[in-house]
Symmetry: C2
Subunit: 490 residues, 2 copies
């Protein structure tokens, strides 16, 4: 397979599709819309999981596991939820196959379920049905539970990581005694997501709330983090929902408060998914391949020997062995690629494609001089460094790269954030220089819907602590209290 | 809910069912046969996962993720596999629900799949279909991949952890250039499982191979580890399969060997599941509740203050704070339960039920004397220790408890391992003192089947490196080369 990628300039969409496959992150499976997450891609997802899981536990949450299947009737219990989720889902109707007279395998029609089971598209219903048995009194609250799981939403158009029929995610589901506590939890988890995106993924995000149109089915308020990709399209990277008492009422989950009175429980839910992998790729990568932030790279440093003959290789192996040990002692993950069936040039291209943050090359002259050649993936800069104290230099460099990626992505976002004072200007920006567009909106779903139909741009969010400033809606001309963030989105 | 459990003596089966629920490990869900794994149970499973995952990675494996769905036709490709797995599985036939005229939610018959999808009961077929694209040459081998996933097998009779419709597991799927390598991998992973069972779960196991009757559907040879529960019934705790070239042939996975000739790839698969949770509970626990080995306990030490008034509590808090910090610095996990809404006696019973390995109580007299009362869960022994250097004493105690649990389980197994020289004796042992029974068997499936039908006992395994000794089959009277391990099993 050729390593030549499409360029972002020529075809951003193709560039992304090719990169995900060529860098060994994921591929399409034999099942329509479902992906195989390959080991290199999965290793990045594992790093994401570890970091997020620690953040969840540090904020008092515990993990549990709820069934994959949801009885069909559960969906009907929360009216807006069913409208949002029951329509595109995988339905299990039978529980046995049999061999037909002609030898083929067919569904055994005698093994039909009394009630169909839905593969979870999200777990609010089965979880709140369970919480009814777990919550009696205020002493049982708050209940702070997270689940790592697979979910299925039947999608017609799929793209690796960004939109797949099955995907992996975590879903937090918490129960509280008061609305205030539940809202505080919703906001706390939004902040956890924003911190993770910025500090681990090096992706700057805008924190905000969704409009009614874009709200989670069953939520009172949906908070989100929105990131901007290099092509100027937005990507929703995580959501945190304040669910009010909707699910408690649907599943009759009450508690005795401190005064001994019965009340319905307050709820939140929040989730991020393997979609983050798509956001990571599209935020930093370039025409040579992936660019990974050091905190999420499966290995942060690759060392490639350049040698003639076994004797030179033996000398290099010895030097590298010491350097590797010293780096690993500092918690740096290092791969030494001394396979002899590929040339150094091939390896360089391979690790550029894979986005390894730092490459160290070491050859005969380096042996003589006590040096190595260090190349950083983000800027493609090379420098020759003394081997002595290499572990501290690399540690410092990795921090620099992590910060640089964030700053670069932030600068890109700022460059691509525009203000539109008229609908004409709004459309021209969308056409010519897509990005986030700050514009006045009259606050109605009708106007939002019309703009979406005419331009495909949606309101990504109303930023938290948004500046209040009276103006005129770009579409309707009606009075507006604030500008909101528009963009075309993944 | 009362904390009184059934006793093992009175009704072992009820004791188990109650304990799993009362100790907050798991409960039945609204979906028939599916369980909810509660936070305390899931925390133990997470510890198992961490330890196993490290062992897999230390032996060169990487994780990946393959689709939940398997096209129906894939099952037909490996003849013996379909017979074993296609018969009891969840079948997805539709991908949409709709609202009926009467307002109810029904399956949309227009959204019928062309080919039904099976929820994976195991992933050999989808994975080997994928490997075809990943393997061209011997350079691509070995391929050493593991997956953590949920699977579904439609079970009519279910029990929490031991047999559930959906369960969590890991499944390793490896590809090799030669039969020898694949067999070595199969054996290596069996050893990993045995080490995990003995060193982490403190459960002694017999390593062996399965007879043809009990072999995995599609395997050439199935290796297993077998443990003995306190009631004398066996539990298969993990299996590792040598699959020969069966799946490579079914899915046309060939590679060019070093000589450039095309050959089919050799395969293994191996798995352990949340069933291990059942084995853990049934190996060590007693009539007061769970007994957890320190290496898998969500917290290893609980500290309970015994005090009158705020002032005493403040003094105790200060002392405990220091002890807790010192223990945590040594990697010991500690919970301090100074909730004021429960009495010490209630807490003692609660943590006995939850199987916390070590309980430390500290009261007014301890404050004066600089002591604490230390109780170990495995033996229920208590002793008074000086606070000074408590972290080292507890560390030592935890090691002792871990070892003691293993030795106790080993002694139990040895006590319950019998030899039967005749079928009469065999049946009497099964009836009166169930356990592992070593007995001569003529090596035929027919005899094995008859014994199973008449006694419900099965051959658990033929131990590795089994002693070869000529004898007479207890059932048929025919010549036998060795004794094998019989038992009734979970």
């Amino acid at each position: 397979m050729s390593k030549e990628l499409s360029t972002r300039e020529a075809n951003y969409s193709e560039w992304y599709n090719e990169l995900v496959v060529k860098a060994d992150l994921a591929e399409h499976s034999a099942v329509k819309g479902c992906m195989v997450i390959k080991p290199y891609g999965y290793a990045i997802w594992e790093k994401m999981q570890q970091a997020l899981d620690k953040m969840f536990k540090d904020t008092g949450h515990v993990n549990a596991y709820f069934p994959l299947f949801i009885p069909k009737s559960f969906f009907s219990k929360e009216a807006s939820h069913v409208a949002g989720f029951a329509k595109e889902c995988a339905v299990v109707t039978h529980y046995r196959l049999k061999t037909a007279p002609d030898g083929s395998i067919v569904v055994d029609e005698t093994a039909k379920l009394d009630e169909e089971l839905i593969i979870r598209p999200t777990s609010e219903t089965i979880i709140w049905n369970t919480y009814r048995g777990w919550i009696q009194s205020y002493r049982d609250l708050p209940l702070l539970i997270n689940q790592w799981a697979n979910v299925v939403r039947w999608e017609m158009r799929t793209r690796l990581f960004l939109r797949t029929t099955e995907f992996l995610w975590q879903e937090g589901h918490t129960a509280h005694a008061t609305a205030e506590e539940a809202i505080a939890e919703t906001e706390q988890m939004l902040n956890v997501y924003a911190d993770f995106a910025e500090q681990f993924m090096a992706v700057p995000v805008i924190k905000g709330i969704k409009t009614a149109n874009e709200r989670f089915a069953g939520a009172i308020e949906t908070y989100c983090i929105e990131a901007l990709m290099q092509d100027g399209k937005a990507l929703q990277a995580g959501t945190s929902h304040f669910l009010g008492q909707n699910f408690a009422k649907a599943f009759d989950v009450k508690f005795a408060n401190k005064e001994g009175k019965q009340d319905f429980v307050w709820a939140t839910s929040w989730g991020v998914s393997t979609r983050l992998m798509g956001a990571l790729v599209m935020s930093h990568s370039d025409d040579k391949g992936l660019v990974l932030p050091p905190k999420l790279a499966p290995f942060q440093v690759v060392i490639v020997p350049i040698y003639k003959g076994e004797e030179q290789l033996a000398q290099i192996n010895e030097v590298v062995g010491k350097m590797k040990k010293a780096m690993e002692a500092k918690g740096i993950s290092v791969k030494y690629d001394n396979r002899d069936n590929q040339r150094p040039g091939w390896k360089f291209a391979e690790y550029e494609l894979k986005g390894v943050p730092v490459r160290i090359a070491i050859g005969a002259r380096d042996l003589e001089n006590g040096t190595v050649e260090v190349a950083r993936r983000d800027t493609m800069e090379k420098e020759t460094l003394q081997q002595a104290d290499i572990e501290n230099k690399i540690e410092h460099l990795l921090t620099q790269i992590q910060n640089n990626l964030f700053q670069k992505a932030l600068a890109m976002r700022e460059m691509k954030t525009y203000t539109a004072d008229s609908y004409e200007e709004f459309k021209r920006i969308l056409e010519e220089t897509p990005g986030f567009i700050m514009a006045h909106w009259d606050g109605t779903s009708e106007t939002e819907q019309k703009i979406k139909e005419e331009t495909k741009a949606t309101i990504r969010c109303i930023p938290l602590n948004n500046k209040q400033e009276t103006g005129v809606c770009i579409y309707s001309g009606k009075v507006s209290a604030q500008k909101v963030v528009f963009a075309k989105a993944y």
